[in-house]
């Protein structure tokens, strides 16, 4: 039991990331309000970045910028997750902007950000 709790505390970042992922995923699926859907998507993506960044960290090591001419790989943390997080953030920003632009247009047409209402109105128009 003690072992389990120690492991739980040790893995806190990853556990938090998974919980946040679930939270974001649920918001993306269930929120009616488009803006809240977008926030959910951002929470989801950020949780993945938290997960990735926590995977790169190694206790007691420093950021991967060569200092004082020390080239030993034992001194620095893993640089790869940092690079991947950077890529992920840019992608997430871009997608968010596109999503928001779509929302702005729909709001301009239907004067609401409730997605269910919008879909009903669209279907009504089609009939």
């Amino acid at each position: 039991m003690k072992q389990f709790i120690v492991e739980l505390i040790n893995d806190r970042f990853m556990i938090a990331a998974v919980l946040l992922f679930g939270l974001g995923f649920m918001n993306l699926l269930l929120q009616k309000n488009l803006i809240k859907k977008i926030i959910g998507f951002n929470v989801m993506d950020s949780s993945i970045f938290l997960f990735l960044a926590s995977q790169g960290y190694i206790n007691g090591r420093i950021a991967p910028i060569i200092t004082n001419g020390v080239f030993d790989a034992e001194v620095y943390i893993n640089p790869i997750p940092s690079g991947l997080v950077l890529t992920g953030i840019v992608v997430s920003v871009s997608v968010t902007a596109f999503f928001l632009a779509l929302t702005v247009r729909l709001y301009g047409i239907y004067k609401t950000v409730d997605f269910d209402e919008i879909m009903l109105l669209i279907n009504k128009e089609a009939e």
């Binding site: 993306l28 995977q55 992608v91 871009s94 729909l106 879909m119 089609a126």
Partner: protein, 497 residues
């Protein structure tokens, strides 16, 4: 010094990207259109050259993107299968653009046409990169590019309805890419690599030592579900009909014919090059694929049968066809995967042909999309009528056409796996009958003369009449006549993956 044709994959991807980037500098949408046509034609020719070189030699090669080899730098990898997919992507993109150009310039505002072609070029680059990549994370980046570009070409038409369907398409696609990303991340955590061959070594080591079995299963599941969402496999594909049915003709053709296939080709490549197909079969992922594929075939057919709107009907039928592909991969025999690949190729020709012809036919009656109201339209535009008939007959599975060859090999491979034989056969039969039930009335309707209707004068579109429709139709016929040869080539290609 490398043989010169090793450079073709990288050159085609970078050519598409650079032309996409430079389109904002051009002065008008027409010029952007010509540049896009030129680029896709070049990609087609280059891929044809690559095919000509690698298929006879049965060669598979990796290509460094930069100065650093496998575990350190990005890499591409290509062989016969990738070359064929590159050729089909280029050719069908070219033909769809050419065939749908009139509707395209009619549907999209002049000020926004350049943006549309930027998207098209980037979409092409993303499709090629997803096919050629040897690196999972590059795969993720280009999946995102193709998501944004695909949504943007749907929304380019700019009606309230397309905006609504795009937002749903985007939201569901983002779920898919989120799952894919977390899959890649977990895989990186347990293997420490991002390049496919290196991951494979680690995965095989993990499987043999029994370490991290749970994470490995979860990763395989996440990658599969992520891609299944994007390629509209049955329970995840609810977004497809609205998005594909509402877009402008060229976009529908490209989305249904190519974009869905790009993801599946990448999934097959991941299965073979990252996990190896035996591990995937041991993890039971193929069984889930098989079940979803069968359900998708039935669901897509029923929905298509109930649909009035011709483009949405074609989109529902795409869902059924995606079901065939996943069923083929799920059959657990190598011939099944080859048959699925043949189905991918056939569908890449048939669906754009059907969409383009339906678009042309609906122009006869004021862009009226209800199939009942298209009566007699084929007499006004007989090229589109014949094209639609050939496409529909291939869908139903008339011999000598591509659809028949693909279904024939699917059945043959089902025979090789007794455990899955009966479900596969029965579903294939039901789906084939349903196909005939919804395609044939359509064909009869367009050829039935209608005395009371008032057709519009049809503007002839030489690109469509002389190049697009004949080439797409002959592609379907070619695949139907050479099914055996194609299966041989595909099987040899799969063995190299």
């Amino acid at each position: 010094m490398l043989p010169y044709y090793y450079n073709i994959p990288a050159v085609s991807i970078l050519l598409c990207m650079i032309s996409g980037i430079s389109i904002p500098l051009l002065s008008s949408g027409r010029r952007a259109y010509r540049l896009t046509l030129f680029v896709s034609a070049t990609v087609t020719l280059l891929s044809a050259l690559l095919m000509y070189k690698v298929i006879p030699l049965n060669e598979y090669f990796t290509y460094m993107m930069g100065h650093f080899p496998a575990p350190w730098g990005n890499e591409l990898s290509a062989g016969p299968l990738e070359a064929m997919m590159g050729f089909i992507f280029g050719l069908v993109m070219f033909l769809s653009l050419l065939g749908g150009s009139m509707t395209l310039f009619h549907d999209i505002l002049p000020g926004k046409q350049k943006f549309y072609f930027t998207m098209m070029n980037m979409l092409m680059a993303a499709l090629l990169a997803m096919t050629y990549t040897n690196d999972l994370f590059t795969g993720y980046v280009f999946i995102e590019i193709s998501t944004i570009a695909a949504c943007a070409i749907v929304v380019a038409r700019d009606t309230p309805k397309t905006i609504g369907s795009t937002i749903r398409y985007l939201a569901i696609s983002l779920l898919g890419s989120g799952l894919f990303l977390i899959g890649v991340v977990l895989l990186y955590c347990i293997t420490g690599h991002l390049l496919m061959p290196n991951i494979q070594t680690q995965v095989l080591r993990l499987v043999s030592t029994g370490l991290y079995t749970v994470p490995l299963t979860v990763v395989a599941g996440l990658l599969f579900v992520g891609i299944a969402i994007k390629s509209a496999l049955f329970p995840f594909g609810a977004w497809l009909p609205m998005a594909h049915g509402g877009a402008t003709t060229t976009s529908s053709a490209v989305l249904s014919g190519l974009v869905l296939k790009g993801y599946i080709v990448m999934l097959i490549k991941i299965f073979y090059r990252v996990f190896t197909i035996d591990v995937i079969r041991d993890l039971n992922v193929t069984n889930i694929m098989f079940a979803c594929g069968l359900a998708g075939m039935i669901y897509g057919s029923i929905e298509a049968f109930r649909e009035e709107h011709i483009k949405r009907m074609l989109a529902h039928s795409s869902m059924a066809q995606i079901g065939y592909i996943f069923m083929g991969i799920g059959l657990d025999v190598n011939l099944g995967v080859a048959a699925a690949f043949l189905q991918i190729m056939v569908h890449a020709f048939v669906k754009p042909l059907l969409f383009l012809c339906a678009g042309r036919l609906s122009e006869v009656y004021d862009h009226e999309k209800s199939s009942y109201r298209l009566r007699g339209s084929a007499h006004k535009d007989w090229v589109a009528g014949i094209g639609f008939t050939i496409g529909a007959m291939s869908m139903v599975g008339i011999p000598l056409l591509g659809g028949f060859a693909a279904k024939f090999y699917l059945v043959t491979s089902a025979m090789m796996n007794p455990a899955k034989l009966w479900p596969a056969l029965i579903t294939l039969m039901i789906s084939a009958v349903m196909n005939a039930l919804y395609y044939m009335p359509e064909v009869i309707a367009i050829w039935t003369r209608c005395e009371l209707c008032t057709p519009n004068p049809v503007e002839s579109n030489l690109g469509f009449d002389l190049i697009s429709a004949p080439l797409l139709a002959s592609g379907v016929i070619f695949l139907g006549l050479n099914g055996y040869t194609m299966i041989q080539v595909i099987q040899r290609g799969l063995a190299l993956l």
